[in-house]
């Protein structure tokens, strides 16, 4: 899969968040998106995942056949898409049926993330870090070429961070793409870096007109 973004601009509630973003990714590439709080990292991921309309610019995918961009990606972010009253296994099984392209079974995926024992526990009983790992297990139950990760290491302990780095590396070896918004080093070797702050166009000063 190839992804190219050109001259992308985002506006939320009338306020310019960023403009003129451009990057291109090919198989095995990774992109670390950095920037201060509120720079628009999550907005960029929301545009890519089809939840937000860009103000200007183009997002194009190639080498994915008929599928549209939202159908080629996984999103793991602050809002993890897990239902507290369902067990980890039920949540993952639902994601697998909903998204299609099954890869690992929910139990195997949870075991890969060291959470095999949580398969039959309601997600509401899990800690923040365990919950995040269940959300990350979704990356393994369905095969999708692009991973969009928003602060993926939040709430994760060091061992799990290393685990995640390993998963991302394996995904890239298989030709997958990773775009991660982050403040921390993720262990993405050879990843391109996109600092959103740098591309913000200066806002014109508001005119003071009291006359």
């Amino acid at each position: 899969m190839r992804l190219s973004v050109d001259n992308l601009a985002c506006r939320r509630s009338g306020r310019r968040i960023f403009s003129g973003l451009a990057f291109a990714l090919g198989p095995g590439d990774a992109l670390a998106v950095t920037g201060r709080n509120g720079a628009g990292k999550s907005s960029l991921l929301a545009i890519l995942s089809g939840r937000l309309r860009p103000d200007a610019g183009r997002v194009e995918v190639a080498e994915v056949g008929e599928a549209s961009l939202p159908e080629c990606l996984h999103v793991v972010g602050h809002r993890d898409g897990l239902k507290s009253s369902l067990t980890a296994g039920e949540n993952l099984l639902f994601a697998q049926k909903l998204l299609g392209a099954p890869r690992l079974s929910p139990r195997n995926a949870l075991e890969q993330l060291g959470l095999g024992h949580a398969h039959d526990l309601p997600v509401g009983y899990l800690s923040a870090g365990q919950r995040r790992r269940v959300a990350l297990a979704r990356l393994l139950v369905c095969e999708r070429p692009l991973w969009l990760l928003d602060e993926p290491t939040a709430a994760l302990d060091t061992a799990s961070q290393a685990l995640l780095a390993g998963l991302m590396a394996a995904h890239r070896v298989g030709g997958g793409l990773v775009i991660a918004a982050t403040h921390q080093a993720l262990g993405l070797d050879g990843a391109a870096e996109l600092c959103i702050e740098a591309s913000v166009a200066p806002e014109p000063e508001p005119m003071e007109d009291w006359a």
Binding site: S13, G50, R51, V75, G77, G81, L82, E90
Partner: protein, 222 residues
């Protein structure tokens, strides 16, 4: 695509039965309203049986609102909606699945239980059957209309009241023809099938318009 829609329906039905789900709540609410009316009106059986279908329909409209505010809001808050956007199903399909699950947990149980609750308002056999049939044909429209309001208020905190104000006026046509069909069955000048056909038509229109409108409201929340 069918598998994804079935998975969504199955998940929503399962959630309704778990802690925090609305499950049988709307049925209990329905029972409450219907049980309160005889206390308010007194034991006048003729009056009760005359206005019985109207009471059952009003109660059905109000109980449809139970849990409706969380129909899309819960998924919007926890990010499940992002997951559904990424599914190989258009949002219209997602709306259709969620409304179906909502109807299976509210409208269908109400319609099936209405003959029993008809006893509380002194309905005779024909009126019970007719009311149940009109509820069966009419309640899907209530769910579809409600879904539009639920989608519009998905990102508003405490949007439940706004939702009720938005959708209740739109439910009036179904209410009118539902009650008139039920009353036509027990006498009157119009044959039963005429208002029932209009009611069914209203349901079909609501299914199309409601699905498209709710999906459009969810697609671009800003």
């Amino acid at each position: 695509m069918t598998r994804a829609i079935l998975a969504l329906i199955a998940r929503d039905l399962r959630l309704a039965g778990r802690v925090g789900g609305s499950g049988a709540l709307s049925l209990v609410f329905f029972l409450m309203i219907v049980a309160l009316v005889p206390f308010a009106l007194g034991p006048d059986l003729n009056l009760l049986s005359r206005i019985g279908p109207a009471i059952l329909w009003l109660a059905a409209v109000l109980s449809t609102l139970i849990g409706l505010d969380r129909l899309f809001q819960a998924d919007e808050e926890d990010g499940s909606l992002d997951l559904m956007t990424a599914a190989p199903v258009p949002l219209e399909g997602v709306v259709l699945a969620k409304v179906t699950a909502h109807w299976l947990t509210t409208g269908l149980p109400l319609a099936l239980a209405s003959p029993l609750f008809g006893l509380l308002v002194a309905l005779d056999g024909t009126a019970m059957g007719a009311t149940a049939l009109t509820l069966l044909a009419g309640t899907p429209a209530l769910s579809f209309i409600g879904a539009v309001g639920a989608a519009l208020t998905a990102s508003i905190r405490r949007g439940g009241l706004i939702l009720a104000v938005l959708v209740l006026p739109l439910m009036i046509p179904s209410l009118i023809f539902g009650v008139s069909a039920a009353q036509a069955a027990t006498g009157g000048t119009v044959p039963f099938l005429v208002p029932l056909a209009v009611l069914a038509a209203l349901t079909l229109i609501a299914a199309v318009v409601g699905t498209l409108a709710a999906a459009a409201a969810l697609r671009w929340p800003e």
